[in-house]
Symmetry: C2
Amino acid sequence: MAAPRPAPEASTGELPVALDAMGGDHAPGEVVAGAKRATREYGIPVVLVGAPEAIGDTGGLEVIPASEVIAMDDDPASSVRRKKDSSLVRAAEAVRDGRASAMVSAGNTGATMASALLRMGRLKGVVRPAIATPIPQLGSHPVVLLDAGANAECTAAMLVQFAQMGAAYSSARYGVEKPRVALLSIGEERSKGSALVKDTSALLENGVGVDFVGNLEGRDLLHAEADVVVTDGFTGNVALKTLEGSLRFFMDTLLAVFAGDDEAKQAAEVMLPRLAPLAAEFDPDSVGGAMLLGVNGVCVISHGSSNEHAIVSALRVARDLAVGGLAARLGEAVRPAA
Amino acid sequence: MAAPRPAPEASTGELPVALDAMGGDHAPGEVVAGAKRATREYGIPVVLVGAPEAIGDTGGLEVIPASEVIAMDDDPASSVRRKKDSSLVRAAEAVRDGRASAMVSAGNTGATMASALLRMGRLKGVVRPAIATPIPQLGSHPVVLLDAGANAECTAAMLVQFAQMGAAYSSARYGVEKPRVALLSIGEERSKGSALVKDTSALLENGVGVDFVGNLEGRDLLHAEADVVVTDGFTGNVALKTLEGSLRFFMDTLLAVFAGDDEAKQAAEVMLPRLAPLAAEFDPDSVGGAMLLGVNGVCVISHGSSNEHAIVSALRVARDLAVGGLAARLGEAVRPAA
């Protein structure tokens, strides 16, 4: 991440980011701490959403009161319908009502999607919103993978929109001028893959406003020759969790070997400072969370175990993209050619 | 892997394993070397299939001549139809004709499947064969993942058969008495996943002769609470390649850091011998290759970059499973309850 930028001029009139103070494994403590730090260090206006008595000291931040909490294991659809005064639903309403520029939650992912979808609504023309997740790349900007799990079943038309929105998002977030879009498949050859991949590939080649560079495989995800990787939400979720699981497995295994005996511990003292910068590049707390693309507003989904640092990252991303007009850019991207 | 066992008594009457001498990036050199070593060290009878002039010195092994070669990038279906005198097709015919107990190839995966399917045929009752791939687990026997890529499109009925065959294979290969079978999904809850996962889950709970333990996620693959993981061939292939890619990425990154400066090089001298046994557990050359389950015979698909050691592993697996009557056990597993 870049060094802290100077606090901006008095942000007159800038809408705050609505932060679900009750969502996540470490809420409200770490979440509220993140809000305070984001305001202090980056000048980001934040409004906390939740039960004032649970939040405690707000450090002067405004609060939108909400008496209910959607738990991590609540059923998404029914809890959003039932808990109308939950922090998640109220955060989404704040965006809908023009009281906030964006929403951020580290809570129940499904319920965050449902709240955003039901309260903000979809962007005009978007069939289904998708979760876009950054996959870190050594020495380069992250690759955007979507759909990372919003839609277990997809059509080719949906995947084309994911390609369009993913490209617009890559430009907005990472400044990529002409994002290269690839389809995740089981072979680079066009003859391989599911019917969904082949149908989508045919559509993407047909001039839908994205730079389609062909298929790539699971083994390419950490050094992708693309800026955006498109897939259905089932495959995307499996791939992403496989990636996370194997990197975590490898780290744990390495640390166990480092702790194995005295000689190894000495070697670890040499190695760990050299490995730390690499580990930081892959730290999910630094990448700023996933984004729900296709709703009428900015919605950042931070991971459930978010700490203060992760919340700061998520707030920075949410604010930057709201200020940059992400929703309008996505709406433009999915508009059919005249 | 276990220590070399003593060469068995004269294997009177034991059929040889048919080895595609022309298949793989290092064929025929490493492939033929592997055959010689498997025979010498493990007493495994092998018949080489390929062009005698390319094979050269056979070390006394029998050869089934085949004048054609299916290249790694040939189209599987059409090359198998066209190249009737190819080493792959002739190897499959040797099994069909009772001249060999099993076939092994490190060549074109799709063409290996097509040869086995067209020449050996399917086991009675099997809708579609599947590729079963071992995923190493630290300190335990590998988990069997299937389908790893034979069928990009699957039905729930196919996945039930994969579960049945996978369980029989886990028993035959790793001696697991009552293999636990899991479905790969995007959440452990039964409410999550694609329609295919939900339909399959309902069927597996309904008494199809396997111990179904529920859904697991991509992040569980390297420490799975299951012996068999069932999925469609598209998802399975993406997951497996993501796993391979991230492990390779981590290894490459670690080795680069180890080579970075003199102090790191010294630390590497301490660490590498401690990491080597772990790396060996994950060495694809040692796991013996993937298996095509559901054809009427034993067919081992070794990876394209197989060296001598990988070929020896593949031949050992092929011979053990042929002697153990794998095909009959699989046929029994998919038979509907009377």
